[in-house]
């Protein structure tokens, strides 16, 4: 069984590898290491692991500029309807149905919201959905929070679009 002090030192060895310890903490650790071969080996092992990561190389990156620009200019707009359906309420659902979307609505009001994603061509969104007044935050609907939402809250589901 490891002496208590060694356990404490081991738990902080990575801080030493990072150079993240203040003067006195480092001195304390080095004092222990000077007389403890087991902990010295543990430190050396961690350093070797960390240094070995340098072997991981990235291949020369292709220049994706043109492909990115092409995609940005031609991609259809995506409508992301998520938890906002819940507070926007039935009115929003009706309005969206009016533009020909088939929506999957959560059956139970207290169930966690299921984000629904549909892809519409860009001109369609601009001329039709802008007229949906029941939804209070059109911009959120247009761009959604997919970009910045906490990952755990997102579930993507492709749904068929009818009537377009």
């Amino acid at each position: 069984m490891m002496p208590v002090q060694c356990e404490d030192i081991r738990s902080r060895l990575w801080d030493l590898v990072d150079g993240a310890l203040d003067e006195s903490a480092r001195a304390e650790m080095e004092a222990h290491l000077a007389s403890c071969e087991a902990c010295r080996r543990a430190l050396a092992e961690r350093r070797r692991v960390w240094d070995a990561l340098d072997l991981d190389t990235v291949p020369a990156a292709p220049d994706l500029t043109q492909r990115i620009l092409n995609r940005a200019m031609s991609a259809p707009r995506r409508l992301i309807v998520g938890s906002w359906i819940r507070w926007a309420g039935a009115a929003a659902a009706v309005a969206l149905l009016a533009v020909g979307l088939t929506l999957l609505l959560r059956p139970a009001p207290d169930a966690p919201p299921a984000p629904v994603i549909a892809e519409l061509p860009a001109p369609y969104i601009e001329t039709e959905l802008v007229s949906v007044e029941a939804v209070t935050d059109i911009e959120l609907l247009m761009y959604g929070d997919l970009i910045e939402a906490p990952i755990e809250t997102l579930v993507e589901k492709e749904i068929p679009i009818s009537g377009i």
Binding site: R47, L55, L64
Partner: protein
């Protein structure tokens, strides 16, 4: 405040935040400049996280498409790169989780190290230099495999910390979590890496930080 055309304007001198505003305003060349500035770094992060060039290329394009779409809503409350890293890590983590849920055709999952680097050729395996590079290539393969064995958030934390030199705070913002959570992720990631790589890092192997081979070009 914003003009849609600025004859003689040099986008190279615009800040990232200005370029986002210009992109939103439809200024030609602004988004292209943003892409040129940041695509290498985004590619590095993505490649290290997903392990093969084809998927990395797709994801990088997807990430910049999100940047483009977000331009009208973008608020420069923090550094642009902090926000960009958040978009990138979200995309990578979502992608990794989707991939791990799907049954994957073997040809799509690149075995660590094999897709983008050719098999090493051993001319004289008994020569000390030959033996050395054998061990290094093996170790490199194991390092890549060890990184790809990490769960998504641990992987991203290591990539951002170790390879991109981001601070705990920046990583916390990218991963939408606390600094404490970042430290925990890194701690677990390092333990996983250590357990996995130590068998290949015995004290008697030819690899060491001080006298290791030159990194490949």
């Amino acid at each position: 405040m914003l003009v849609t055309s600025r004859p003689g304007a040099d986008v190279h001198r615009d800040s990232d935040a200005d370029l986002m505003a210009l992109t939103a305003a439809g200024q030609a060349g602004a988004f292209e400049e943003l892409v040129r500035r940041h695509q290498q770094r985004v590619f590095n992060i993505v490649y290290r996280s997903v392990g093969n060039v084809t998927d990395a290329e797709d994801l990088v394009q997807d990430i910049f498409l999100r940047v483009f779409r977000a331009a009208p809503r973008y608020q420069p409350t923090a550094k642009f790169t902090t926000w960009l890293f958040r978009v990138a890590t979200n995309a990578v983590i979502n992608w990794l989780r989707k991939r791990d849920r799907r049954p994957v055709a073997l040809s799509r999952v690149a075995p660590a190290g094999s897709t983008d680097s050719p098999d090493p050729v051993y001319e004289d395996p008994d020569a000390s230099t030959g033996l050395h590079s054998l061990q290094t290539d093996e170790l490199r393969t194991q390092v890549r495999a060890a990184i790809e064995a990490l769960p998504p958030k641990q992987r991203l934390a290591v990539v951002l910390f170790r390879f991109e030199g981001r601070s705990y705070q920046e990583i916390a913002e990218a991963l939408s979590c606390s600094v404490m959570a970042v430290k925990s992720l890194l701690s677990r990631a390092r333990e996983n890496l250590r357990r996995r790589l130590t068998p290949y890092l015995g004290e008697e192997t030819g690899f060491s930080a001080e006298q290791g081979p030159e990194p490949p070009g």
